[in-house]
């Protein structure tokens, strides 16, 4: 017996993209009848944010699943073609210098794991936000972020065949002292409510600070011959513009829904500007010190991307809602002449416990820094002169012990006072009988709002002293960190440096001609 299928009746009209989007989001949404809405969405009230009408959320990108996957697959194909070509042609030998990869070690250890965490939290939002529009936008971002994590890992894995410091980034991310800075930043957001997360990551990270946090690594790649990372950056760019739009829509939506939301959002902007800005210390030193070929100075980047674009543009618009620029923005502006120098000086003297290397900047770099920072760099240069003498005498400045950490940002407390920019800033408060130390008013202010949260901070130095990091001496801790000999310390003479010299001495460059 054969079953004859019904003859298709009139051919169904193909829906337009807009109609399909509407079918996917609005038409698949329903009002719960078996349970009350607050049982179905239990996490969207406790933060004090009031939402009256979720349908007011505008969806600037009306993507559908098929359009999304088709577009991303094309981008991935292009990226993987570049990765294959680069690997086959030994492209790593055409980087500006092996020391450039210190920036990428920091990226893989510090940033790629955050992409994965972003994927997780956006997946949570795609279930737990009440509105179908923001749920679908979160789903798309969740997929973007796991693709970012995967493609970054694939992109950088090629370097792991030839260079140190790339091998145990996930293990390190959860344990190593400088990686606790980005990790604790993101853990803070993950353990907040959905609206705070939207302001922390959707708005502050993806919109306010993205050009200071993410983009500089990609520009550094393009200036230093790292074609794979640059291609990854391009492939992420179109996602990032969606993420920026989501962040901006989130803040506008919250501000428009109820005037009571304004002070809550203002505090989150104050908090997450400062949290994110402190993480940019790692980027600032990368731009000014780690890149063999410079893109722009931290100060220039800060002025262009933050002062002009954000303070001059975005915050003028947000003033309409009664939102003021972040509380501690004045300190960040004052610090633009100091941040990178202080951050690199931290990493330089603790790099024996890191999975990247550091070195005294070349004279060319010192001169460039002095041009970029004529008012402040001469003071920092005097330190490098002292260290050069120290090195000539057989020394190398590695600190013989552990530094004081800020309870909030977890960075060794090397930042200084606004009115006395070469004096360390020391702040502390006492909460329920215990003293806590901070690097700045910004970090102190964050603690004062959430002391019960921040007193649980896993501070690497304190954990080492409690015996939770493999043992009492440095070797034990390094082993527990997953470090191998040659991962950290001084660049000159390191395995990466020696290999680089050997490969280039061996290589036949006759096809490149003279010059």
């Amino acid at each position: 017996m054969t079953l004859t299928p019904d003859k298709p009746k009139a051919k169904a009209r193909k829906l337009s993209m807009k109609e399909r989007y509407s079918a996917l989001t609005r038409d698949l949404d329903w009002d719960p009848s078996y349970v009350p809405a607050d049982e179905m969405f239990p996490y969207t009230t406790f933060e004090g944010i009031k939402i009256h009408d979720w349908s007011k959320w505008e969806d600037p990108f009306r993507l559908t699943v098929d359009a999304y996957t088709k577009y991303q697959a094309e981008k991935d194909r292009r990226l993987y073609a570049v990765l294959d070509g680069f690997a086959q042609s030994q492209g790593h030998l055409s980087l500006t210098d092996a020391s450039y990869l210190n920036a990428m070690k920091l990226f893989l250890q510090g940033v790629s794991p955050l992409e994965y965490q972003a994927h997780r939290n956006f997946a949570y939002l795609s279930r737990h936000l009440n509105g179908p529009g923001p749920r679908f936008a979160s789903l798309c971002q969740s997929l973007d972020e796991i693709r970012h994590a995967q493609t970054e890992i694939h992109t950088l894995s090629n370097y792991n065949k030839y260079y140190s410091g790339f091998h145990s980034y996930l293990h390190m991310h959860d344990r190593v002292w400088y990686l606790s800075v980005p990790k604790s930043f993101f853990d803070d957001a993950l353990s907040a409510g959905p609206f705070e997360f939207l302001i922390a990551i959707g708005f502050s990270f993806e919109y306010l600070l993205t050009n200071l946090l993410f983009v500089p690594f990609m520009s550094g790649a393009s200036f230093n011959g790292d074609l794979p990372t640059m291609t990854f950056g391009f492939s992420a760019q179109s996602d990032e513009s969606r993420h920026m739009t989501l962040g901006l829509e989130a803040i506008k939506f919250l501000l428009e829904q109820d005037p009571d939301n304004v002070p809550i959002v203002q505090h989150w902007i104050d908090k997450w500007f400062w949290r994110g800005y402190r993480v940019t210390a790692l980027v600032a030193q990368m731009l000014d010190y780690m890149l063999p070929r410079k893109v722009m100075s931290w100060k220039e980047a800060f002025e262009l991307y933050f002062e002009q674009q954000m303070l001059g543009g975005l915050f003028q618009d947000l003033a309409y809602y009664g939102i003021k620029p972040p509380r501690d923005v004045g300190k960040a502006i004052q610090e633009k002449e100091h941040l990178s120098h202080q951050a690199y000086w931290i990493l330089y003297q603790f790099s024996h416990a890191a999975a990247f290397t550091t070195s005294v900047p070349s004279d060319e770099t010192l001169d460039w820094l002095e041009e970029q920072y004529p008012d402040t760099f001469p003071t920092y240069r005097a330190l490098w002169d002292k260290e050069k003498k120290n090195v000539a005498n057989g020394g190398r400045h590695f600190v013989r012990g552990l530094p004081q950490l800020c309870q909030v940002c977890q960075i060794p407390m090397g930042f200084t006072e606004a009115d006395s920019p070469f004096t360390i800033c020391q702040r502390s408060v006492v909460f329920e009988g215990e003293r806590y130390n901070f690097c700045s008013d910004g970090c102190q202010n964050i603690f004062e709002h959430e002391p019960v949260k921040f007193r649980q901070a896993w501070l690497p130095v304190h954990q080492i002293y409690q015996g939770n990091c493999g043992g009492a001496d440095l070797g034990d801790v390094m082993q527990w960190y997953g470090m191998q000999p040659g991962d950290g310390g001084e660049y000159l003479g390191s395995p990466d440096h020696q290999n680089w010299l050997r490969w280039h001495a061996q290589a036949d460059h006759s096809e490149l001609g003279e010059d």
Partner: protein
């Protein structure tokens, strides 16, 4: 301070920066009971405590040091066993220096450490900041 774009960026953010300021527990917004202990409470270090030493005016050390030291340790022993081995890495440090070569502060107040007295009896608490300035 005002930027080119006319935005007031006053650095005085109005926070009370008193070093020993005691803060109250603010209201907590959470999905359930939220009360967890400090991950660095003094009890976690037995008879020891964490002590910070800030060599103010010497940028060689980018941040203050953090030591774990017995509360009963004398200041003289603290100087010889912890403070000097850390700081003598500075090429300008002289082996002849003694505590008398420095001015001292403790948690933002002037302080005169007696070498024979214990850290605890000198008022050094868990996560206190000892400040030293070369005379």
């Amino acid at each position: 301070m005002t930027t080119d774009t006319g935005i007031d960026t006053g650095i005085d953010t109005g926070i009370d920066t008193g070093f020993n300021k005691v803060i109250e527990r603010p209201e907590i917004r959470s999905i359930g009971a939220y009360d967890f202990p400090s991950r660095s409470a003094q009890e976690l270090y037995g008879d020891d405590q964490l002590v910070h030493v800030w060599y103010d005016g010497n940028p060689w050390f980018v941040a203050a040091a953090c030591f774990r030291a017995p509360k009963a340790m004398s200041f003289g022993d603290f100087w010889a066993a912890l403070l000097v081995p850390y700081h003598e890495e500075d090429p300008d440090w002289l082996a002849s220096w003694t505590p008398a070569d420095f001015e001292w502060g403790l948690d933002d107040a002037p302080w005169t450490p007696d070498e024979g007295a214990s850290l605890a009896s000198l008022g050094v608490g868990h996560k206190s900041v000892i400040r030293m300035v070369k005379k």
